[in-house]
């Protein structure tokens, strides 16, 4: 695979070399602060080949450090030209729009590309005052990746339509898990706590209203998502034991998770589109044994990023040119096909390359159309300044319930108290 990429790049460079560079183009260096897989090397090289005067320097940090360093830098003149903002932090940064360029005022204005993008994903990058501070990159969507062979061994259906019928709601999802665990003695899902974010993102509101008021305490969707998760992490336990409910006790993405994937210690993973690539990387030998079905509630989302330009950026125009190129339909299609990250360009959802896309690793599941369906139903959920803190606090509360350290109601009460202590309200 790597050799093919290298070949492709050299072909593109050869082609690019034949194209004359624009006259009088001054050399520009773009500084980019990012994390994880936001930028794909193949595309970066293609841009460089087509724009030889532009040098792109990317600095990757871990997710939290990326945003914390950005926060430190925004008050100075030493900011990157492009900053990648993850969805859990976008609520904070979009409330400080004074520190970013309003992309509506760039040339050409962001309003000219707005209609290309999935509406609710676009809104996540818009400040309360209406300034566009970030353009969406990919969208997670939500489906369920499952192991057909393990389902068959447990007497469950393996056809993805039948499987989706097992769990129209989260309680039925949990019940399926309980039955699976009883019949096979193994865990059903990798980490049961992941249902919290999945369920929560299916509502119309999370922790904030669109006006910016904090409602994490009173919003019924939050408490009900919490209860669903608490149920998931405790149902099906042997009496007196805390085995992780319908899931294992191994943390998602830890080394034990990779091992679990390979050995089939669990049969199901809640899968935003980007998760599929991780499964392929971590357990290549399980190819063909997986399939993808609709998730409970049938639509949902986990994850995603926006690309923003800090106000004091040294090369805002060049940065904007690059962002528009990188997030244009053609490039998003390439990213989808090579890396599995689902595009945010709505017009692509009718594109046969997307709707017809199948992956043999997942038993030729029509991944494109599954995720199209899952993303178009998602509501425009308002994001707020302290989303990340609240997310993390609830996550820990669910973990405590899973380990038997607290009952669900005690954990909820403590979570509320912890959040209040951290954010003051």
């Amino acid at each position: 695979m790597k050799r093919r990429i290298a070949l492709l790049i050299s072909v593109m460079v050869a082609l690019g070399a034949g194209v004359a560079a624009p006259a009088n183009a001054a050399p520009v260096t773009l500084t980019v602060w990012s994390y994880g897989n936001v930028f794909q090397t193949k595309l970066l090289n293609a841009y460089k080949a087509a724009n030889p005067t532009v040098t792109i320097k990317i600095k990757k940090s871990d997710m939290d450090s990326n945003h914390q360093n950005l926060r430190n830098a925004l008050r100075t003149n030493s900011v990157p030209d492009i900053a990648a903002l993850e969805v859990s932090y976008i609520g904070e940064f979009r409330n400080y729009d004074a520190y970013f360029k309003d992309l509506n005022t760039m040339t050409p204005s962001a309003s000219t590309i707005k209609n290309d993008f999935l509406g609710w994903r676009w809104s996540q990058g818009v400040s309360p005052a209406g300034k566009v501070i970030g353009i969406p990159t990919d969208v997670g969507g939500l489906a369920v990746a499952y192991r057909r062979d393990l389902f068959a061994a447990a007497g469950l259906p393996t056809n993805r339509t039948d499987v989706a019928k097992l769990w129209p709601t989260w309680s039925q999802f949990i019940q399926t898990g309980v039955n699976y665990k009883k019949d096979t003695g193994k865990a059903f899902i990798d980490t049961a706590g992941t249902v919290f974010a999945a369920a929560l993102n299916q509502g119309t509101q999370r922790y904030y209203t669109s006006g910016g008021s904090l409602v994490y305490r009173t919003n019924g969707s939050v408490s009900s998502a919490f209860n669903v998760a608490a149920q998931a992490v405790t149902s099906g336990n042997a009496p007196g034991k805390y085995d992780g409910g319908i899931g294992t006790k191994t943390g998602q993405f830890s080394s034990g998770w990779g091992t679990g994937l390979q050995r089939g210690t669990f049969a199901v993973v809640l899968a935003p589109a980007w998760m599929l690539d991780y499964i392929k990387q971590q357990a290549p030998r399980t190819s063909g044994k997986w399939d993808v079905a609709k998730a409970p509630g049938s639509y949902g989302n986990i994850g995603g990023s926006q690309l923003a330009i800090p106000k004091n950026a040294k090369n805002p125009q060049a940065a904007w040119d690059f962002i528009r190129w990188y997030l244009a339909p053609a490039q998003q299609l390439t990213v989808f096909k090579s890396y599995g990250q689902f595009p945010t360009i709505e017009s692509l959802y009718d594109n046969s390359s997307v709707t017809g896309y199948k992956d043999s690793f997942f038993n030729n599941a029509p991944i494109g159309s599954i995720y199209v369906a899952s993303v178009t139903g998602v509501h425009n959920i308002p994001t707020g300044k302290k989303d990340r803190i609240i997310d993390t606090t609830f996550g820990q509360a669910i973990s405590r319930v899973m380990l038997g350290k607290q009952s669900s109601s005690a954990a909820w009460t403590q979570a509320l108290a912890d959040i209040k202590k951290s954010i003051g309200q």
């Binding site: 994390y35 600095k59 450090s65 990779g258 991780y278």
Partner: protein, 303 residues
Amino acid sequence: MSGKHSSSRRDEKNEEIVSTDNAVTEVKRRRRRKISPFTYVALGVMTFISAFPFYWMFVVASNGSDEISKIPPSLKPGTHFPQMMSAVYEAVPFNRSLLNTFMVAIIIAVSQVFFSSLAGFAFAKMEFPGKKWMLIFVVGTMMLPSQLGVIPMYMMMSKLNWIDNFKALIIPALVSAFGVFWMRQVIDAQIPNELLEAARIDGASVFRIYRSIIVPVVRSSAFVLGLFSFLATWNDFLWPLLVMNSPEKFTVQVAINQLQSSYVIDYALNMGGAFMATAPLLVLFIFVGKRLVAGVMDGAVKG
């Protein structure tokens, strides 16, 4: 009186002939102190404990990511190492980062040793106004966690235009409170005042005293201080990650951090990068190690 060198001569039976300062030289036949096998066994265990995780990193790096998940874990190296290496080189300008880190670390180490020994000498053996409070202040500042300092430091570096410039790494690190504290303690313990008195009476200048008396005696400790300073710079991660933006200017820890992906860790790649970051240093130590032993032995001979 400080002792003169005691010379050790060996006779044919390879036993030490020890002479003391006394006018009458006594030849003492002492049995050469035998090393018990216990020593080597204990050191062997220490070696295993120290080296095993490093070896394990190599095993994972050379076997491909899914090997780390085998039960029981495989302990034999595999064949994927060259492949993994080229993946690392593709992701970051790795050799360049090794060079960068080495350069920065050496400059900082030399500077810290030099300035620390000067200041340590002053604190240990000289009097000047405010000395006591200065020393307490210096030691006290080591006790304040420095994490919050990142914020004003970044602002300062930004105003000085040192962001993405090696100056931001080197200049704030030119001196070390730890180094001053240690050098002061070493000089205080190992250099008797009488020696300095005698030299002063002989008319030696302060610099002469520094060069001819202080430096040779504290050489081994200074060397160790330099080594530790080097290591601290080599391992430093949070600050270089914040202030350096260009991949060709990354230090080695920042470089291997670029190998991480969003959530899941590609174990072979990360372990490989970490291994590649450690191995050159190890090789360097083997070469420098002889010097280390020699330097330390000098300190041992001087009584």
